[in-house]
C-alpha cells in the first residue's frame, strides 16, 4: 500500500490550537465524528451556537483527527527536499503549558490515548470514536480504577463507495464485487460480473488507514463477503487519508479510483462547508468534492454496498460519577453537562440543540447512553 495525499508544510506547531486550561474538557478522536464534536463545542457554520457560545467559565475543547481544517492529511515536504512524502505525524498541545504530542488521528488511536492518559489531572477527558472500545480496553479501564469506559452513541453514519463525479465505475458496487476488486480478482471494470460492457481501464482501489473506522468497517464487510474469512488485500490497494475527496480527485486516474467514504462527510462537503485552502484570509470559494457515492444497482444484481457506522463519545466512568461541578455555581459535572446524566436533565448531545449541531456535520443524530459496552 502506498500513501498518497496533499502535502502541507511540515513543522512543529504548524497551527496553534487553543490551549485548554485546567477545568476545560478536552476531547480527541477519529476523523469520522470529528466535525460533529467540533460543532457541538463551538457551533456549526450555519450559525447554530455551540456549547462554548454560552461564555461559560470552563470550555469544551475538541482536537480534530486531522491537523487540517479541511480534513486533509499532513505529509512531509517533498517539494523542497525531493524525498518522497511520508505522513507528517502532526502534533498538538492538549493542555496549556504542556509539550506538543502526536495528534490523535483515528478512533482506535483515540481510545488508546485515553487509556494511556493516567495523569492527574487528566489531559484527555473523552474521545469521539466511530468504534466501541474492545473488551480488553474495558478491562484495562477497570484496572486503572476508572470503573469502565462509558460509551454514548451520538449518531449514525454509513460507509459507502465514493468515486469521481466522472467515473468508469458502474452505478453501484456490491460487497462481492468490492471483495473481488480489493483482493485483486477484478482489476478492470469490465471484469466485474454483469459489466462486460464496462470500461477496460484499471481500477484504482483506495482505502483509509488501518486504524480508521472506515477501514475497519469496510474490511469487516469484505470479510463477511468472503465467507467470514479475513481477506488479503491486493498490493494495488493504496492507503489514503480517510474521508478526503482529494484521494479520488488527486489520483493518477480519478475516473478509475474508488474508496470507502463516510456519507456524512460527503454531505458536509456538499453542504459547502469546505473552502478553497489556496486563498488567504478571509478565505476562498466553496469547494466541491468532485466525487459522489455509488448508490445505483450493481452489475451483478447484488445489493449496493452501504454499511452503517456509529459515532460515539467515550469517557471514564469515574468522571461520570464525579461530584466536581463542571462550571462554577453549577450542579452537574462535565459528563452530566455534555454527554450522560441518567435521571437528571438532558445532557447537551441529547438535546435538540446539540443534535442540530451533530446533524450539521452530516451525521444522523441518535442519542443512546450505552454505558459499559465493547466490541471486538
Amino acid at each position: 500500500m502506498t500513501a498518497v495525499g496533499l502535502t502541507l508544510a511540515g513543522g512543529a506547531r504548524a497551527w496553534a490550537d487553543y490551549g485548554p486550561q485546567p477545568g476545560d474538557v478536552v476531547g480527541v478522536g477519529g476523523d469520522t465524528p470529528q466535525y460533529a464534536l467540533q460543532f457541538v463545542a463551538d457551533g456549526d457554520y450555519n450559525g447554530d451556537a455551540g456549547f462554548n457560545s454560552a461564555g461559560a467559565y470552563n470550555r469544551l475543547v475538541t482536537f480534530n483527527a486531522t491537523a487540517d481544517g479541511n480534513g486533509r492529511s499532513a505529509y512531509t515536504n517533498s517539494v523542497t527536499t525531493g524525498a518522497a512524502s511520508t505522513p507528517l505525524n502532526p502534533t498538538d498541545v492538549l493542555r496549556a503549558g504542556t509539550f506538543p504530542v502526536q495528534r490523535v488521528q483515528s478512533s482506535g488511536a483515540s481510545i488508546s490515548a485515553l487509556l494511556a492518559d493516567t495523569s492527574s489531572p487528566e489531559v484527555i477527558n473523552f474521545v469521539f470514536s466511530a468504534s466501541e472500545p474492545t473488551a480488553a480496553q474495558q478491562t484495562q479501564a477497570g484496572t486503572q480504577s476508572w470503573g469502565y469506559l462509558h460509551v454514548v452513541e451520538i449518531g449514525t453514519d454509513s460507509v459507502k463507495i465514493a468515486a469521481d463525479s466522472t467515473t468508469n465505475a458502474p452505478a453501484g458496487l456490491s460487497a462481492a464485487e468490492l471483495l473481488g476488486i480489493y483482493t485483486g480478482t477484478y482489476t478492470a471494470w469490465n471484469q466485474l460480473p454483469g459489466n462486460s460492457g464496462g470500461s477496460s481501464a484499471t481500477i484504482i482501489p483506495l482505502i483509509p488507514p488501518s486504524s480508521s473506522s472506515i477501514y475497519k468497517t469496510f474490511v469487516a464487510d469484505l470479510k463477511t463477503a468472503n465467507g467470514n474469512v479475513a481477506p488479503t488485500l491486493s498490493a494495488s490497494v493504496k492507503t489514503v487519508e480517510q474521508n478526503d475527496p482529494t484521494a479520488i480527485t488527486g489520483a493518477s486516474s480519478p475516473a478509475n479510483a474508488i474508496v470507502p467514504f463516510s456519507s456524512a462527510r460527503l454531505a458536509l462537503w456538499n453542504d459547502g462547508y469546505f473552502h478553497n485552502p489556496a486563498t488567504v484570509f478571509p478565505g476562498g470559494t466553496t469547494l466541491t468534492p468532485g466525487i459522489s457515492l455509488l448508490a445505483g444497482s450493481p452489475p451483478d444484481a447484488g445489493a449496493v454496498y452501504a454499511s452503517p457506522i456509529t459515532d460515539y463519545v467515550i469517557f471514564r466512568q469515574s468522571d461520570a460519577t464525579s461530584t466536581t461541578p463542571f462550571e462554577p455555581g453549577g450542579a452537574r459535572n462535565w459528563v452530566q453537562t455534555l454527554f450522560s446524566n441518567p435521571g437528571g436533565s438532558t445532557p447537551l448531545v441529547g438535546k435538540s440543540a446539540g443534535q442540530a449541531l451533530i446533524a450539521a456535520s452530516g451525521v444522523t443524530p441518535n442519542y443512546v447512553d450505552l454505558g459499559d459496552v465493547s466490541s471486538g
Binding site: Y18, Q21, P22, G23, D42, G43, Y45, N46, G47, D48, A49, F51, N52, S53, A54, G55, A56, Y57, E327, P328, G329, G330, A331, R332, T337, G344, S345, T346, L348, K351, S352, A353, Q355, A356
Partner: protein, 619 residues
C-alpha cells in the same frame, strides 16, 4: 487563576462592559488585575464612587441592572404560540416560551438566535456568571411565527419541545442565595445572542431577568419592567333586545387580542353564572334568568396569569319584558233571558283559553257582571252597573244570581280579571240581552220611617264647688325638698268616683277625654303651680250592657317632669291643657275612668288650704 472576581456592586456597573465579553482565562486574569487596580485607585481618590452613583439602577431593579450597552444591548419579550405577550410561566415548561424576542438588533445581518440562562451571583460581575444554552439556534425572521413576530426583523428565538426549562436551569445551576434583600435570591438571567452562517454567536446580547417562585412552580419577568398591553372586550347578544322574560338569551363576548383568561358575565352588578374561559378570543353563556326591565349586560374579562394584558369590560343594553299574557275568552250565559222584574236570574260566565278553548283552572280570577241597560256596547263604562262578581271556579265558571232587574231591557256582560300573579289576559263577553217584563201582579210599595236622635256626649264627676275633691294634707317628703299629697280619683271598687263618660251620639263617632287644672291658691293668694298636679294610673272601668267594652277605651297618664315654683309658666302636668287621658274610636254607652291625682309643692310653700279647679272635657 480559577477564582472568580469579587468586586463591589457599584464597581460592577462600570466594569461589566469589558467583563461580559467572552474572553480567554488569561485575558480574564489580566482584566481582573486591571480591576483590582481600579478598585485601589477608586479607594484612594473616592472619585469613582461618585461617578458610578449616577448609573445606579432604580430601587426596584435587580441590583446588577442596568448592565449597560454593550454588552446588554436590549431587553427580551416573551410570547405564547399565538404571539400573545407573556411575562412568566411554568417552571417545567419547555420551551419556557413559544417565542422570545430581543428588543434590539444585536449584530446586523445575523439570522439565528439562541437563548441562554445564567445564574447571577452576588459579588461577581455579570460577565462571569455561568449558565447554559436553553434553546437551539433558530432562524429569524420566522415566517411560521404569528404575523407580528414573523414581520419583525428583531432577533427571535423559536422555542422547541427539546429546549431546557427554567426548572432544569434551576437544577443545573441552583440558586443558593437565600437572601430576601440582596436581589439575587431566586433570580436568573436570560440572554439572547445571535449568529449567522459563518459567524459565531455574539458576545453582546438582549437580556431579561426573571424571578423563580419554586413553591408556585412559576417564573416571572422582573427586568425590564413589563408593560401591560390593553385589551378590548365586546359584548353582543344572539337575541335582539327586547325579549320576553324567560327567553334564553345568549351572550357572546369577544376579546381582542384573543388573550386567554376568563369572562364574568353580569347583569347590572349581579353575576350570570361563573366565569367562562376564553377560547380563541371568545366566551359565551346563555341565561333565562334576566330580570324584567331595561338591563345593562356586561362581560368582564380577566387575563390569565402571566399574560401581560389589562382586563377590559364590554357592555350592551338589553330589555326584558314581562311574559305575554295568555289570551282568554269569556262567554256569558243568562238564564232565563226573559223574566218578570225582580225575578232571580242566573248569570253564568265561562272563561277559557282562546288558543285551545280549554277552561281556566279554579282560582284563575274573578268575573264581574255588568248591566249596560239598553246599550248594546260590549264594553264596561262608567255607565255600566256592577251587578256583582263571582270567583272563577272549576271548569272556568263563575256565577251570580241577580234578582233586582227593573222592568226593561238589560244588556248584560261579564268581564274576567285574572288573579294576581296569574299570567292570563282579561276578557269581556259579548252582551247578552235579558228582558225584565212587568210583573203580573203589581207590587204595593209602602213608605216606612224611623228617627235617630242626635244623642249626646257627656263627661261628669261627682264633685262640685260645694263638695270638692279632697287631696288631703300634704306631707313633706323625707328629703325635705317638697310637699306631696295624693288621693284616688275613683278606684276599681268605686269607679264612679272618677270620671263618667256617656256617649249616645248617632254614628258611632270616636271621642277624646281631656283635663286641665288652674293654679292652687290659698286665702292669702299664695300659689301652688298647676304644673305640679298629675293624673296617673288612668284606667277604664267598663259597664256591663254597654257597647263600649274592652279594649275600646285607650287611656294614658298625665305626668310632669319636676316640681315647679309658684310663678313658673308652662303646660307640664295637668296645667295649660287640655291634656288627653282617654279616647275611644267607636262605641256608644258609658264608661268610668279613674286614677290617682297627685300634687307636689315646693317646701317653701306657705301653710294653708289651697284650692284649684280641674276641668274635664270630651270632644
Amino acid at each position: 487563576m480559577k477564582s472568580l472576581p469579587v468586586v463591589p456592586h457599584d464597581l460592577r456597573q462600570s466594569t461589566s462592559i469589558e467583563l461580559d465579553q467572552r474572553i480567554g482565562k488569561d485575558q480574564m486574569n489580566k482584566l481582573l488585575r486591571s480591576l483590582a487596580t481600579l478598585v485601589v485607585a477608586a479607594a484612594a481618590s473616592g472619585a469613582l464612587a461618585i461617578g458610578l452613583a449616577g448609573s445606579a439602577s432604580a430601587a426596584t431593579n435587580p441590583p446588577w441592572e442596568p448592565v449597560g450597552n454593550p454588552p446588554e444591548v436590549g431587553g427580551l419579550s416573551f410570547y405564547d404560540s399565538n404571539g400573545l405577550q407573556i411575562i412568566g410561566g411554568s417552571l417545567t415548561a419547555a420551551p419556557l416560551a413559544a417565542y422570545v424576542q430581543g428588543s434590539s438588533t444585536i449584530r446586523s445581518g445575523d439570522t439565528k438566535a439562541t437563548l441562554y440562562g445564567y445564574l447571577p451571583v452576588s459579588g461577581q460581575v455579570p460577565g462571569t456568571w455561568t449558565g447554559e444554552g436553553l434553546s437551539g439556534s433558530t432562524t429569524f425572521p420566522n415566517a411560521s411565527a404569528p404575523t407580528a413576530l414573523a414581520a419583525s426583523a428583531l432577533p427571535l428565538v423559536t422555542g422547541a419541545s427539546g429546549d431546557t426549562s427554567i426548572s432544569q436551569l434551576e437544577s443545573d445551576f441552583p440558586n443558593t442565595d437565600t437572601s430576601t434583600t440582596d436581589g439575587y435570591g431566586g433570580a436568573y438571567v436570560l440572554r439572547l445572542k445571535t449568529s449567522a452562517t459563518g459567524l459565531s454567536a455574539t458576545t453582546n446580547y438582549d437580556s431579561a431577568d426573571i424571578a423563580v417562585n419554586t413553591s408556585a412552580g412559576t417564573w416571572s419577568v422582573t427586568y425590564p419592567t413589563p408593560t401591560a398591553l390593553s385589551t378590548t372586550t365586546t359584548l353582543t347578544t344572539v337575541q335582539t333586545s327586547p325579549q320576553v322574560s324567560g327567553t334564553s338569551v345568549t351572550l357572546d363576548a369577544t376579546v381582542s387580542p384573543p388573550v386567554p383568561g376568563t369572562v364574568q358575565f353580569e347583569v347590572g352588578t349581579t353575576d350570570i353564572g361563573t366565569p367562562v374561559a376564553v377560547s380563541g378570543g371568545a366566551a359565551s353563556t346563555s341565561t333565562t334568568s334576566l330580570p324584567v326591565g331595561p338591563d345593562s349586560l356586561s362581560a368582564v374579562f380577566t387575563p390569565a396569569q402571566f399574560y401581560d394584558y389589562t382586563g377590559s369590560t364590554g357592555t350592551t343594553p338589553f330589555t326584558i319584558t314581562g311574559a305575554a299574557a295568555t289570551a282568554t275568552t269569556t262567554a256569558l250565559g243568562v238564564n232565563p233571558t226573559s223574566a218578570a222584574a225582580d225575578t232571580p236570574v242566573a248569570l253564568t260566565a265561562t272563561v277559557t283559553k282562546t288558543s285551545d278553548s280549554s277552561a281556566l283552572p279554579a282560582g284563575a280570577g274573578t268575573v264581574v257582571f255588568y248591566d249596560n241597560g239598553t246599550s248594546t256596547s260590549d264594553i264596561v263604562s262608567t255607565s255600566s252597573t256592577n251587578l256583582g262578581s263571582g270567583p272563577v271556579g272549576s271548569g272556568g265558571v263563575a256565577t251570580l244570581s241577580y234578582s233586582s232587574f227593573a222592568t226593561g231591557a238589560h244588556n248584560l256582560l261579564a268581564q274576567f280579571t285574572p288573579a294576581n300573579g296569574v299570567n292570563d289576559a282579561t276578557s269581556i263577553s259579548p252582551v247578552v240581552l235579558f228582558t225584565a217584563t212587568a210583573p203580573t201582579i203589581a207590587p204595593d210599595a209602602q213608605p216606612i220611617t224611623v228617627g235617630i236622635p242626635a244623642g249626646a256626649l257627656t263627661i261628669s264627676t261627682p264633685y262640685t264647688a260645694a263638695n270638692p275633691f279632697q287631696l288631703g294634707t300634704a306631707v313633706l317628703n323625707p328629703a325635705g325638698g317638697s310637699f306631696s299629697a295624693s288621693a284616688p280619683f275613683g278606684n276599681s271598687n268605686n269607679p264612679n268616683n272618677g270620671v263618667t263618660i256617656t256617649d249616645t251620639l248617632a254614628g258611632d263617632a270616636p271621642w277624646t277625654a281631656s283635663a286641665t287644672v288652674t293654679n292652687f291658691t290659698d286665702a292669702t293668694s299664695d300659689v301652688i303651680n298647676a304644673q305640679n298636679l298629675t293624673f296617673t294610673g288612668v284606667t277604664p272601668s267598663y259597664i256591663t250592657g254597654n257597647a263600649l267594652q274592652s279594649p275600646d277605651v285607650v287611656t294614658n297618664d298625665v305626668t310632669n317632669t319636676k316640681v315647679y315654683g309658684p310663678t313658673a309658666t308652662g303646660s307640664d302636668g295637668l296645667a295649660g291643657g287640655p291634656h288627653q287621658f282617654a279616647k275611644a274610636a267607636l262605641g256608644d254607652g258609658s264608661v268610668y275612668i279613674y286614677g290617682l291625682l297627685t300634687l307636689t309643692a315646693p317646701s317653701s310653700t306657705p301653710a294653708g288650704t289651697y284650692t284649684a279647679t280641674i276641668t274635664f272635657t270630651i270632644t
